[in-house]
């Protein structure tokens, strides 16, 4: 099984992805999901927003040369990012494009959980701070953005922004226990005991009523 990977601090060039209620159909259109592996999904990230019908770029921020950097990236988003379909293909496409952390006003539940499963933190900041960040990045994208999960602060161009994330999730990232399979499997006996207690697992046999 995979080793524990602790995620404490992400440093990378930021990219602003503006808009509320950006759904996962937009992040990765369904037609690119006819694949049996996640490899290569990065090139289809926000495909229909980036390219027209003939594949010509429409001038999306992801294709703006000012935002073309190598290495880890930090996405700065608005409200309810990742709503809609549960497709993990969405965070996988972000990850494979280079995103390692997201800073936003809020995230949809399933999307947040999917990002956690990949060790990709989603932290929340106030509307005003996100507005400042997005503008500051657009003015000068050539600096690193720091997402520090120990201090729960995001730093950009010298400004420090407090961010939040539910404590349990934060601890999983810091402790390297975000890959749930191994943790869950540690309790195999307890899993079997729980199953044996559930009346439907026992087929509603006569002992259920007693």
């Amino acid at each position: 099984m995979a080793e524990l990977i602790r995620i404490e601090k992400i440093v990378g060039r930021p990219v602003p992805l503006r808009g509320n209620d950006i759904d996962t159909d937009r992040i990765i259109p369904a037609r690119f999901m006819k694949v049996v592996t996640f490899d290569g999904l990065g090139q289809y990230l926000f495909y229909d927003e980036r390219f027209d019908g003939s594949g010509k770029p429409k001038g999306h921020v992801l294709d703006d040369p000012r935002f073309a950097a190598k290495g880890p990236r930090v996405a700065v988003v608005n409200k309810n990012f990742g709503c809609g379909s549960s497709r993990e293909h969405a965070p996988q496409a972000l990850l494979r494009w280079g995103i390692r952390a997201l800073v936003g006003e809020s995230f949809a539940d399933i999307f947040f959980g999917n990002c956690m499963a990949l060790g990709m933190p989603c932290v929340c900041a106030s509307e005003a701070d996100i507005a400042w960040l997005q503008q500051a990045i657009e003015e000068d994208p050539q600096q690193d953005c720091v997402v520090d999960l120990r201090s729960m602060r995001v730093e950009y161009r010298g400004r420090i922004i407090p961010v939040t994330m539910p404590e349990g999730f934060r601890r999983q990232l810091l402790e390297g226990t975000w890959d749930a399979t191994r943790i869950l499997l540690q309790a195999e006996d307890a899993i079997r005991q729980t199953a044996a207690r559930l009346p439907y697992v026992r087929g509603f046999g006569a002992e259920v009523d007693s």
Binding site: D23, K79, G84, S85, P166, T181, I183, L184, A195
Partner: protein, 468 residues
Amino acid sequence: MGKTLLEKVWEAHTVRELPSGQTQLFIGLHLVHEVTSPQAFEMLREQGLRVLFPERTFATVDHIIPTDTRQRPYADPQAEGMMRAIERNCAEFGIRLFQASSGYQGIVHVLGPELGLTQPGMTVACGDSHTSTHGALGAVAFGIGTSQVRDVLATQCLAMQRPKVRRVVVDGCLARGVYAKDVILHIIRKLGVKGGVGYAYEYAGEVIECMSMEERMTVCNMSIEGGARLGYVNPDEKTFSYLRGREFAPKGEAFERAVRWWRSMASDPDARYDDEAHFRGEEIGPTVTWGINPGQAIAVDEAVPPPEAFPPDEREVAEEAYRYMGLRPGQPIRGMRIDVAFIGSCTNGRLSDLREAAKVARLGKVKPHVKALVVPGSESVARAAEAEGLHEIFRAAGFEWRMPGCSMCLAMNPDKLVDRQVCASSSNRNFKGRQGSPAGRTLLMSPAMVAAAAIAGEVVDVREILPA
């Protein structure tokens, strides 16, 4: 102090509290389909893991399956590849697959309840956000991502945070021509597309109690469109009689014992809720979405709202919706010309949906400029509909009668919109590009309203067509 169904189910399925503060939750029923599972099986192989309870997972094929032929190999090599992957994965890991033409196949959220796999008091998970549908039977059912599909396969558990519970009460009664779809579209319109984040919705009140099981499924199905990862209705006599005799439901004395347990899992009368919302059935009209998320909905006799009608943080999305949909504020939605009519999906692809649509379809003929499709939710729905002759009614009216699958709900198969076509659709999402064309436009509505729009060639009020 009493407990909600959610609390009771949560407690019964808790394996342990995790150091992270989450719960390790046992999953009673795991459903799998071809799109979100191949990578999960691959992760099992890479990590040398097996499936812990293979008898608690069931698989079907629905998303990519063509609806005009079952001929293999499929014309689309990618679709064929995905089919081969799920066949191989299920065979290798000992999972039952409801294969096309087996008599069982269908959309994952249609077949769980109809086979009696989904039962009250269970936890249900599936790599699909509309897993909330199964809550109609009093199950705690939610969508998960592919890494979590791997977790359930390997451990039959998930690490989960317990959601809060909002009781959504709909009292009164519904007028003629108003359906479960209108109820849920109305709820989402009022509570917002992110209003339910962090919550489970418990649907209650006279309108919900009066609903059939299939109508409750329509309501629970779209919980996720309101931001709530799960929604449920407390099990009652209707639930129990729905389950009686279904293939995977308990039989004989075991069924009677099951009913006693199921009843005990319902929310107590003095349960405490984190929040409540109240609606009246009489306020709800036939509802249509005009925009690019399911909250952008109006009654069919209303006009597209102006930006000022929205809270400041929703105005930008409204402006984007006007542009994308080619609509102006103040414009009526009634009379909007449609190109395609789609009846189907896990929201509205069940027998009762087809019956309501057929009542309208028998009153006219599909306008020549409209392409109209009826796609039953499962092979069992198709059989029952054909036994009643519904397929003949649809065909006589000019609808195509297809084979079961997700079809144009998300257009991963050949059923797609073209260019800027407008589709009256009984599905659940009107996101940009959802129906297969990056510029395609979707108007969500009830199946009866879709049938009416197909016949009129434009959005109409089904109440004006239905006999009094």
